[in-house]
């Protein structure tokens, strides 16, 4: 035995020391993972406890009222029909999804399957730049640029189909409207959808594409028939993230869609979404612990429930779709 080798006791000590270190790292990792659960649990606890105090003062039938719904918690004549806020949240999200999902998917397919590496190097940083634009800037873009443009477009469409009337006899798109807010929100989620979808498509093995080319399929046929289905669970995940972000998006809707809690499913009107209401109330001076104060939390809970439902649906869909293929 040379003196450079370790004795059995030394080895045992070394192993013990390493085991202790492993245990410490393990505990640290566990705590890091646990902290996210604690934070989520804490948020949910506050939302639920404040909502319980809300429902002790307001009957749940008023909250879920669908007949002549009004949302006027800050007025003397108080109404709490949450559908007023949910409708506008769904409308703005719907518009943004109608813009963001097709655009994001097409960009992802192009970048992953067609673009040369030079084009990709050029386009990807620009898309990332778009993702970095602050939402308040997007909000003013919607209000100052998209709304006037859409006003012209809607006027033009009416003049095209029913010409010859006085300008003010035509329908005027209001300055605050959910359409512009939704369009810009859709633009703001394009980078999210395109980058996650592109990653999912580029992860599809090359052999799968070659198999498709070998049976005589074109690049386009290969993209839609082979690459897209192979990457579908990642693509759906990107859609869910985009939808969830639209549901919770605040600045764009608060700036461009107006703050009037109107019950409407018409994207051409302005209406307050859940998030707009929360920011509107939170910046006013309301008494801590009052009923008005509680409404913020019950609205927040509604938003969390919607996002959670969205995530569960997405999880279910991506699992189901994966099983079919």
């Amino acid at each position: 035995m040379t003196n450079t080798s370790l004795s059995l006791i030394q080895i045992r000590k070394l192993i013990q020391r390493q085991n202790l270190f492993d245990q410490l790292v393990l505990v640290a990792l566990l705590m890091a993972a646990f902290s996210s659960i604690v934070v989520t649990g804490g948020i949910l606890w506050i939302l639920i406890s404040e909502s319980v105090s809300f429902f002790s003062q307001v009957p749940i039938t008023d909250f879920l009222n669908l007949n002549d719904p009004k949302w006027t918690p800050l007025f003397d004549d108080k109404n709490f029909a949450i559908i007023t806020l949910i409708s506008s949240t769904l409308v703005t999200t719907g518009v943004s999804v109608a813009i963001g999902i097709p655009m994001g998917t097409i960009i992802a397919i192009y970048l992953s399957e067609f673009a040369s590496s030079q084009v990709r190097e050029l386009v990807k940083p620009i898309l990332e730049l778009l993702a970095g634009v602050p939402s308040v800037v997007f909000g003013y873009f919607a209000l100052q640029t998209v709304t006037p443009f859409m006003q012209q477009v809607i006027l033009g469409v009416q003049i095209f189909f029913a010409p010859g009337r006085d300008e003010f006899d035509y329908y005027q798109l209001p300055g605050f409207n959910m359409l512009s807010a939704g369009i810009v929100m859709g633009i703001s989620i394009i980078p999210l959808i395109s980058s996650i979808s592109e990653d999912a498509m580029r992860a599809v093995p090359k052999q799968m594409r070659e198999g498709s080319f070998a049976v005589g399929a074109t690049r386009l046929q290969t993209s839609f028939n082979v690459v897209l289905p192979a990457a579908i669970s990642g693509i759906i995940a990107s859609y869910i993230l985009g939808i969830s972000r639209s549901l919770g998006q605040t600045m764009i809707v608060a700036v461009a869609a107006g703050t009037q809690p109107v019950y409407t499913w018409n994207p051409l009107e302005g209406a307050s979404t859940i998030s707009t209401f929360i920011v509107e109330v939170a910046k006013g001076d309301i008494e801590h612990g009052s009923l008005e104060y509680n409404t913020i939390f019950v609205a927040g809970l509604a938003l969390v429930v919607m996002t959670l439902a969205m995530n569960l649906l997405g999880h279910y869909l991506s699992k189901r779709v994966r099983e079919v293929y």
């Binding site: 052999q207 070659e210 080319f213 070998a214 049976v215 005589g216 074109t218 082979v226 079919v324 293929y325």
Partner: protein, 269 residues
């Protein structure tokens, strides 16, 4: 006049090669991978391409169906003709339709068993009844009885050997003139690969098959002719050349060149 007609007849008869390679060289961004290959690949026979790693067997195979087009920087020089037509003058998709390819690792599409075959038919505008062709192709590879009750379930749930047979069925369904196979059994267990060997022995009666293999026993079992490629070292740059080709018995028992003898005997014993 008469002699001319005779010449034409002998050209289009049974003896005419499916592929004719003339002084074909392939380079990847300037680096030569395969140099000066002149080779006739006979019709309705199975030709095995053998040789050490890096000799360019797979590269040649991929050039025969123009899959190398997808890789930037690949240059093919010389002439590759498929039944007298220069394939580089043809549309790439037309080549893909006439020359099928089976890959080293089974690569079924992430779709149902049925769709794996129907997709190829549909993108080619097949006008017949797709159901019938799916059944016929699966029967040709002896997969029909195993999967007929679950045609709508995912092809990815099949075993590796079944997936590879499905990929062969996918190629067969398009009724190609030639089917190329790049080590079709290297990812399979011995039983599954034996089934593929038996299948290839049947298919070569109807199709021209070109199979790259590292397994000399497999080459001996399935092939009619063998082409041996060797690696050459030119100041550290490795490239492949065709050493010799001929009927399987000749290449294995009476090789013309010493390097063929060394390769065949070192590995098979």
């Amino acid at each position: 006049m008469n002699t001319q007609i005779n010449e034409v007849r002998s050209d289009i008869g049974e003896e005419a090669p499916a592929f004719r390679l003339e002084k074909m060289s392939i380079a990847y961004s300037g680096n030569v991978a395969v140099s000066g290959v002149t080779l006739n690949i006979p019709q309705k026979q199975l030709m095995a391409l053998i040789g050490p790693s890096g000799c360019g067997k797979s590269t040649i195979l991929r050039s025969l169906c123009r899959l190398n087009d997808l890789i930037p920087g690949v240059e093919v020089s010389g002439r590759i003709s498929l039944f007298h037509e220069d394939i580089r003058q043809m549309d790439a998709i037309a080549v893909h339709r006439r020359v099928g390819m089976v890959f080293q690792r089974p690569n079924p599409f992430p779709k149902s068993i049925y769709e794996n075959i129907a997709l190829g038919l549909r993108v080619n505008g097949y006008r017949g009844r797709i159901d019938e062709m799916v059944e016929r192709s699966l029967q040709q590879v002896a997969l029909w009885d195993e999967v007929k009750d679950r045609l709508r379930s995912s092809a990815l749930n099949l075993s590796g050997g079944q997936q590879q047979r499905l990929c062969i069925a996918r190629a067969l369904s398009l009724q190609p003139e030639v089917i190329l196979m790049d080590e079709p059994c290297s990812a399979l267990d011995p039983i599954a690969s034996l089934r593929i060997d038996n299948l290839l022995n049947q298919l070569k009666q109807y199709y021209t098959l070109v199979v790259v293999t590292h397994n000399l026993q497999q080459a001996a079992r399935i092939s009619d002719s063998v082409a041996f490629f060797n690696t050459n070292n030119d100041n550290g740059r490795i490239y492949g050349t065709l050493a010799e080709y001929g009927p399987v018995v000749q290449v294995f028992s009476e090789p013309q060149k010493k390097e063929t003898y060394d390769y065949v005997n070192a590995r098979s014993n």
